[in-house]
C-alpha cells in the first residue's frame, strides 16, 4: 500500500484539518466529536445535516455551504459516524427551524442516525437515499444502497431550504427527488482502506464488478470488461428500467467517478449515456460530470439519472457555494 499517511489513526483528522484550512472562508472543523459546519451559520432556515464514512470525498464535507448542507459528520473511512457527532452537529447548526438528516441507505448509517434521532429533543426528519438499482429491494431486506444520487438530493433540498422551505417541505422534496433518482456503477479495480492496508477485494486484470457499491462491495456479478458503450447500455437499461421516464421527460445526467478513473473516460461515458437517452426520447436538461461520490482510489464510475420537473430544474440552478460544487 502506498498512500500519503503520517499516522493511520490520524488520517481522517489531518485530512479534515487540511480541508478546513483550504476552505477557511467556508468551513469550520469541530473535533471531539468530529463534525464540520458552515463558517457563517445560516439564518432562519431548516438545518441540513448529512454524514457517512469518510473515503467518498468530496461527499459530504465538500458539499457544506450556501445552498447545500449546514453540517456533515464524517466517520472513519467507510465506517458510519456515531450518534454523538450527529447530536453535536445538530446543536451547533439548528436555528429553530428543525433539522433534516440526509442519510445514505447503509445499515450502519441508518442505525446511527436513527439512534441520534431517538436521543434528540428538537424537531427533525430524515431523508433516506436509496438510488442504487444494482441491489434489488425484493431479495435484500435492507433495500437498495444510497450512492451518487445523494448529491442530487443534497443540492435540490439544499436550495429549497435556503429559500425558506419548512422542515416538512424539505422532507417531502427529499423523498420525491430520491424516488425520481436511480444510479448504478462499475468498478475495474479495488480500493484500499488505509487502516486495513490491503485491497478490499481481489479482481483480475480484464475483470470488472458490475453494479459495485461505493465501498467496493459486490454488485450483480463479476464479468469481463467490455467496450464502454456496451457497459453504459446495460447500466442505463437498469436505471431507466427502474425510473421508467415518459418519452419527452427531462433528466439530470450525473456521471460520477469513483476516484481512480480520469475525466477523459468520465466524459466518454457521458457521451455514451446521452446516446442511450436520445434513443429513448429522453432529454438531458442538466448535467454533472466528475468525482463526487468516490470510493477512495477505486477505478470505475457510476451513472445517475434524476427525472426533473420545472421546480427541480430551478432548484438545481439556484446558487451554491461549497468546496466542491459552486455556481
Amino acid at each position: 500500500m502506498k498512500k500519503f499517511v503520517n499516522d493511520v489513526d490520524l488520517l481522517l483528522q489531518e485530512s479534515l484539518q487540511g480541508l478546513a484550512a483550504a476552505h477557511a472562508d467556508l468551513l469550520e472543523l469541530h473535533l471531539d466529536p468530529t463534525f464540520v459546519t458552515r463558517k457563517r451559520a445560516a439564518r432562519k432556515k431548516v438545518a441540513l445535516i448529512s454524514g457517512g464514512g469518510a473515503g467518498h470525498e468530496p461527499l459530504h464535507c465538500g458539499l457544506i455551504g450556501q445552498g447545500m448542507l449546514d453540517a456533515a459528520c464524517p466517520g472513519q473511512v467507510f465506517t458510519s459516524p456515531t450518534p454523538d457527532q450527529m447530536l453535536a452537529a445538530a446543536d451547533s447548526v439548528d436555528n429553530g427551524q428543525g433539522v433534516l438528516f440526509i442519510v445514505k441507505n447503509y445499515a450502519g448509517d441508518v442505525m446511527n442516525f436513527q439512534m441520534a434521532v431517538e436521543m434528540m429533543d428538537r424537531p427533525c426528519a430524515t431523508v433516506l437515499v436509496n438510488d442504487d438499482v444494482a441491489v434489488e429491494r425484493s431479495t435484500h431486506t435492507t433495500g437498495r444502497r444510497g450512492v451518487a444520487g445523494t448529491l442530487v438530493v443534497e443540492k435540490l433540498v439544499g436550495a429549497a431550504a435556503e429559500m425558506g422551505a419548512s422542515l416538512d417541505q424539505c422532507k417531502v422534496l427529499g423523498d420525491r427527488v430520491n424516488s425520481r433518482t436511480a444510479s448504478m456503477g462499475v468498478a475495474f479495480t479495488s480500493c484500499t482502506v488505509p487502516a486495513a492496508g490491503r485491497a478490499t477485494f481481489d479482481i483480475g486484470e480484464g475483470e470488472m464488478e458490475f453494479g459495485v457499491g461505493i465501498h467496493g462491495e459486490p454488485g450483480r456479478r463479476r464479468d469481463a470488461v467490455r467496450p464502454a458503450q456496451e457497459l453504459v447500455d446495460e447500466l442505463m437499461a437498469a436505471i431507466l428500467g427502474d425510473l421508467k421516464p415518459a418519452a419527452g421527460s427531462e433528466v439530470l445526467l450525473h456521471v460520477n467517478g469513483f476516484g481512480g478513473t480520469p475525466l477523459i473516460e468520465l466524459y466518454l461515458l457521458y457521451h455514451c449515456a446521452t446516446k442511450v437517452l436520445a434513443k429513448e426520447g429522453v432529454q438531458v436538461a442538466r448535467s454533472l460530470v466528475g468525482n463526487y461520490t468516490t470510493a477512495l482510489e477505486m477505478a470505475g464510475a457510476s451513472l445517475t439519472v434524476t427525472v426533473m420537473d420545472e421546480e427541480m430544474k430551478s432548484l438545481w440552478d439556484a446558487p451554491v457555494h461549497t468546496a466542491a460544487l459552486r455556481w
Binding site: Q76, F78, A107, M111, T141, V193, A196, R198
Partner: protein
C-alpha cells in the same frame, strides 16, 4: 459477578480478539467490507481505557457506560448494535450490586434482544445473532437448572462454536455479507466468529477464575 469481573472480562475479550486478528480479518475481507476487526479493536481499546470510570460503579451502570462508549467509538453498523446490547444489559441489571448467574443470564438475553430489534434480524441470517441467540438461550436454561460453572461454560463454548461454524452454509440476508448473496456461501460470518471468540474468552476467564 461484580464490576471487577466485568473489567477482567473486557480485558480477556480484547486479548482474544487481537489474538484472532488474522482469521477475523480474512473472513471480513471475504464477505464483509474489511473494517470489522479495526472497528471492534477500536471499541475494545476504548473500553479498556474506561476502566477507572467503571470500577467505582455497580455492574448495571458499568454496562451502560460501556454501551455509550462503544456507541460513540465503533461507528458502522456494529456501533449501534453492540452499544444497544450493553445498554440493555445495563438496564436489566439496574440496582443489582452483585448479579447471580440467573440475573446475568436474563441481562444477556435482554442485550441480545436489543440487537435483534435494532438490527431487525434473527437466527439463520448469517450474523452475530446466530451465535448470540442460541448461546444466550442455553445460558438461561442452564442457569435455571443450577449448573455448576465448569459445566455451564463448557456447554456454552460448544454451543457458540457449533453455531459459529453453521454460518458457513448460510446465505446472508442481513449485514454487509448480504450484498454477496450466494457468493457468501462457504464463508463463516465474521460477526459470528467475533461473538464466538468473545464467548470463549469470557468462559475461559470464568473457569480459570474458579480454578484459582
Amino acid at each position: 459477578m461484580n464490576t471487577r469481573d466485568i473489567v477482567t472480562a473486557v480485558h480477556a475479550v480484547q486479548a482474544a480478539i487481537v489474538a484472532n486478528e488474522a482469521q477475523i480479518e480474512s473472513l471480513d475481507r471475504a464477505i464483509g467490507d474489511g473494517d470489522h476487526f479495526i472497528n471492534i479493536r477500536r471499541g475494545c481499546e476504548a473500553i479498556v481505557a474506561l476502566k477507572p470510570d467503571l470500577l467505582p460503579v455497580p455492574p448495571g451502570e458499568a454496562f451502560k457506560k460501556i454501551g455509550m462508549k462503544l456507541l460513540s467509538t465503533i461507528g458502522g453498523a456494529s456501533g449501534p448494535l453492540i452499544g444497544s446490547f450493553f445498554i440493555s444489559m445495563g438496564k436489566e441489571l439496574e440496582g443489582i450490586a452483585e448479579p447471580d448467574t440467573k440475573q446475568f443470564a436474563a441481562a444477556l438475553a435482554a442485550g441480545v434482544d436489543a440487537i435483534k430489534t435494532r438490527g431487525k434480524a434473527d437466527v439463520g441470517e448469517k450474523t452475530m445473532l446466530d451465535v448470540l441467540i442460541p448461546t444466550s438461550r442455553l445460558l438461561l436454561r442452564l442457569a435455571g437448572e443450577g449448573s455448576d460453572r465448569g459445566t455451564l461454560c463448557a456447554k456454552l463454548k460448544q454451543e457458540a462454536e457449533e453455531n459459529m461454524l453453521a454460518t458457513r452454509d448460510m446465505i446472508a440476508t442481513k449485514g454487509r455479507a448480504h450484498f454477496l448473496g450466494e457468493r457468501a456461501l462457504g464463508h463463516i460470518d465474521p460477526g459470528a466468529k467475533t461473538s464466538q471468540v468473545a464467548v470463549f474468552a469470557v468462559c475461559d476467564m470464568l473457569t480459570e477464575g474458579a480454578a484459582s
